[in-house]
């Protein structure tokens, strides 16, 4: 059995940044396990621009962003294995993986989960109708087009206005397909504002809010879908049906943090994010197992994935060197008033060196609200925001000094207020 200090599950943006963070913090014996034949993960198929504005202060494409991290990992001589699938992780941090050379058993001092997320399939939203070819998760189709160089169809409807759906509406348009509509169940888009402008508005692609697909038609191939307006309970309104002919239906109906390995290891998962419940060190309920990136919660920008994951790598390194004790309890972090979730779930101020970032998302579109932070019942601070939307991840920072003001606090609450 191979022994390492830190094993990192996944060589996408989260895994690469975590590895660099760990290495910077002085850990040499690291290994990254990646199931694809290349590092960089999903960024390789994200050939559009808009990456790196926060980390590199310039606008890069996905592959360019990935290449910068890949280069740094190679320069740092951090070992990695490609085409290697992790099959199992145990509570005592044994990792079982497989590749064409055989089974690989690794005993690690710390594990960093960086498996990313996966797309919800058609079945998860139970759209009725036939089961013809031509229905794909948007990211799957993105791989067809951008990695392998083939398009799956010529007339496209996109269900869901998450960022991948928006990006693929534009991508399929570039490939000569007619994108007939992007259909969104909610009264607002789940994607970034800039993507709605640059991917739909600029190409005259209609965004049908408060609509859904109610029927899938076809035999061997998809021939069309029926869409309908939905009421305030998100139920289709009879009489509003509209048939659209298409040979391709792309689904951008949500991302699910990939946590089958975590579940099998007995790691506690959040019902809201689908990712592990973590403390201020991004450590899960199992000591020595850390999580970051889209495995932890679905991010909107890769820049934030990198920042979070680098921190996870540093934390794991400190844990391995015995400098980051597992907290005994800590302050519970909870949310209310339109804040859907916040990560982490608890904070031990003793493990906060100078500041800590708290990431959260809201559950609806809110205008002119304050984001308020309470220590127990006392409001620490609040910031006014013109608009908050579910599609954009929010960050707020708490400093060491702020924690020191409330040494006896038992809970922290993030709330939206009028």
């Amino acid at each position: 059995m191979k022994k390492v200090d830190i094993v990192i599950i996944g060589g996408g943006p989260a895994g690469l940044a975590a590895a660099l963070g760990a290495k910077d913090a002085g850990i040499e014996n690291i290994i990254i396990l990646e199931r694809e034949q290349y590092l960089g993960g999903i960024l390789n198929q994200c050939i559009h621009n808009g990456f790196g504005l926060h980390v590199f202060k310039e606008e890069l494409t996905g592959p360019e962003y990935a290449a910068r991290y890949e280069e740094r990992v190679k320069q740092a001589k951090i070992p990695y294995l490609l085409n290697t699938m992790v099959l199992d992780i145990t509570r005592d941090k044994k990792v079982m993986a497989v590749n064409r050379d055989g089974l690989l058993e690794i005993k690690a001092e710390a594990v960093i989960l960086a498996m990313g997320c996966r797309e919800r399939p058609r079945g998860a939203i139970n759209i009725p109708g036939r089961r013809p070819v031509g229905i794909y998760a948007a990211g799957t189709a993105q791989k067809f087009v951008n990695i392998d160089g083939f398009v799956p169809g010529k007339e496209v409807v996109v269900l869901g206005s998450g960022d991948i759906g928006l990006i693929m509406a534009r991508r399929m348009t570039f490939e000569g397909a007619a994108v007939k509509a992007v259909v969104e169940l909610m009264p607002y888009s789940g994607g970034l504002k800039r993507n709605i402008v640059q991917c739909l508005d600029d190409f005259g692609i209609p965004l049908k809010l408060s609509h859904t697909v109610t029927q899938i038609k076809g035999g061997e191939r998809l021939t069309g879908v029926t869409i309908a307006r939905v009421d305030e309970n998100l139920k289709p309104i009879p009489g509003t049906e509209e048939d659209i002919s298409c040979d391709t239906l792309l689904l951008s109906v949500g991302l699910i943090p990939d946590n089958e390995l975590s579940r099998n290891a007995g790691i506690a998962l959040s019902n809201i994010t689908g990712g592990p419940v973590v403390d201020e060190s991004l450590q899960t309920s199992v000591e020595g197992i850390f999580a970051c990136g889209n495995t932890l919660h679905v991010h909107d920008l890769v820049d934030f994935v990198s920042a979070e994951s680098e921190q996870a790598g540093k934390n794991a390194a400190e844990y391995v060197r015995g400098k980051r004790p597992r907290p005994d309890g800590g302050i519970t972090l909870s949310t209310k008033g339109g804040v859907r979730y916040a990560v982490p779930a608890s904070i031990d101020p003793g493990n906060v060196s100078d500041k800590i970032d708290i990431r959260f998302r809201v559950s609806n579109v809110f205008k002119n609200r304050y984001v308020a932070v309470y220590f127990d019942d006392t409001r620490l601070k609040r910031h006014r925001r013109l608009i908050l939307t579910p599609g954009e991840m929010e960050t707020l920072t708490l400093t060491k000094a702020e924690f020191e003001k409330y040494p006896d606090a038992r809970s922290i609450t993030i709330a939206l207020e009028e």
Binding site: N99, P121, G123, P128, V133, F150, V151, F174, G219
Partner: protein, 490 residues
């Protein structure tokens, strides 16, 4: 000239073919679709019924009991999944107890000896996730679950390995009776055979009506299902039924042989024999009724939904006989539930009819055993190491949800029936059958199929015919039409 042509490669045609392959005869199976088990046999509950439900004295009762007795040996010879998990028919109202007892009496009359009523605490100890209102149930320990399509594939592969020919994508368009044989017009040309076995499922009335003056009507009775993630597969151990009604056994909840949780089916007569749509009302009905059986229904764990068509005959009875006015036409029609359970016994009876008419003799080299594809997922660590050492393709995982290796995909492509669609691979290996429903593995599968079969990537189909996955190269033209993924790093 064939001795016998079997129309339809569902579980009935497959069972007949496998029984007939014991004999020194020339047999062919004609299947309209691109694979076997493409009709009712791929979209049903996968239940091997104990036999308490059919009316005593009927063919349904007789063949249910006979078929059930054959399952253990058949599954072990042919290496398809079969698990005796037992069934519970639950009631939520003491007033239904007499009806439950009548069902038990029916079972006893059919020959079942181990039925019993379980009450309150015992019931909830058996099934902790059962709806708390359930107050009693009849336990039928001999009920089981199988994978219906894997069973059909196993039967067909064993028949093929014993010399039976299979013509896929071969739809029967007409049949006429000549002096001593039948002349069958198909989409793949004329096929001549001395005997026709009509196992055409929902279309079996059409085959009969081409030849016989005794016209028949088969009604497609649609059943819709929802399939849940394997994470929910242990929700119940037994198959959980409601009290049956005249429209069938109602929506049930069962673990599947592969470890998922299955909800369904509905039961609605429709007109179109090809309409395997799901409907909003149907899926709602599945969920509403399932919710009455369980404490908690994790609807967020649904990974897919589907529907299948039962072949219902107006007399609500199996037809297993030579057409009275057409000697040599063996009709196996109206085989709805418990048809899957009955299939091995129906196959035996039909084969006897054919053999008697032909005066055929048994071969001495019949091979009763067939091995399925060895799944990486179910191997121990030691077996995995050995498998990869022998064939590195076992170390290359293609489907992450079900841990299916490249070796299994290639084995499916080289399997006896000569199939290469993604759905055919899925039914043989489970690649694409997990929680992401192919999102991860499809492109990998396309490359393996193209490489292994020596075809262009754009020629690979989801389910045969015109169901090609990729329709055009993209504008950049970097795509390689076969072989590995384009090297975007160069």
């Amino acid at each position: 000239m064939y001795d016998v042509a079997i129309v339809g490669a569902g579980v009935i045609g497959a069972s007949v073919a496998r029984e007939l392959s014991r004999y020194a005869i020339k047999a062919v199976v004609l299947e309209k679709d691109s694979d076997v088990a493409m009709g009712s046999s791929k979209a049903n509950s996968g239940l091997v019924h104990a036999g308490y439900d059919p009316v005593p004295g009927t063919l349904k009762a007789k063949y249910n009991m006979l078929g059930r007795q054959m399952f253990d040996e058949l599954a072990s010879q042919l290496d398809f999944p079969f698990k005796q998990n037992g069934a519970l028919v639950i009631i939520k109202n003491e007033a239904d107890l007499p009806a439950l007892e009548r069902l038990m009496v029916r079972g006893v009359t059919n020959g079942l000896r181990n039925l019993r009523i379980v009450r309150n605490n015992e019931l909830h100890d058996l099934e902790p996730n059962l709806h708390s209102d359930a107050c009693a149930a009849m336990l039928a320990p001999s009920a089981g679950i199988t994978s219906p399509y894997e069973m059909v594939i196993a039967l067909c592969e064993n028949a093929a390995q014993n010399g039976t020919e299979f013509m896929l994508d071969c739809r029967v368009e007409g049949v006429s009776k000549e002096e001593d044989h039948f002349c069958i017009q198909t989409t793949r040309g004329i096929v001549k055979a001395r005997i026709v076995v009509n196992a055409a499922g929902v279309h079996s009335d059409e085959i009969n009506n081409m030849l016989s003056a005794h016209k028949m009507t088969i009604v497609p009775r649609r059943g819709e299902y929802c399939l849940l993630d394997k994470s929910e597969g242990a929700m119940v151990k037994h198959t959980i039924f409601q009290l049956p009604t005249k429209m069938g056994k109602g929506v049930l909840v069962t673990p599947t042989a592969d470890g998922n949780l299955l909800l369904g089916p509905t039961s609605h007569d429709i007109d179109d024999k090809d309409d395997v749509s799901t409907t909003k009302d149907g899926l709602d009905e599945v969920l509403t009724q399932s919710a009455t059986l369980l404490k908690h229904l994790p609807t967020s764990k649904i990974i897919t939904s589907f529907s299948g068509l039962r072949s219902w005959h107006e007399e609500d009875e199996f037809i297993i006989e030579e057409a009275p006015d057409v000697p040599g036409l063996v009709n196996l029609c109206g085989i709805d539930s418990p048809g899957l359970t009955a299939a091995p016994a129906i196959g035996l009876t039909a084969a006897e009819m054919v053999v008697k008419r032909l005066g055929a003799v048994k071969k001495d080299d019949f091979e009763p055993n067939r091995k399925g594809i060895r799944p990486f997922q179910s191997m121990t660590a030691e077996q995995r190491k050995a498998a990869i050492a022998e064939n590195p393709d076992y170390g290359q995982i293609i489907c992450r949800c079900e841990s299916v290796s490249k070796a299994e995909i290639i084995a499916a492509l080289r399997s006896p029936l000569g199939v290469n669609s993604l759905d055919a691979i899925k039914r043989r290996t489970r690649a694409g059958m997990g929680r992401c429903q192919g999102g991860f593995c499809w492109m990998r599968l396309l490359h393996i199929v193209a490489d292994e079969c020596g075809i262009n990537l754009m020629e690979v189909t989801k389910s045969g015919g015109q169901s090609n996955v990729l329709v055009n190269p993209n504008k950049s033209g970097f795509a390689k039409h076969t072989g590995g993924p384009a090297d975007e790093k160069s």
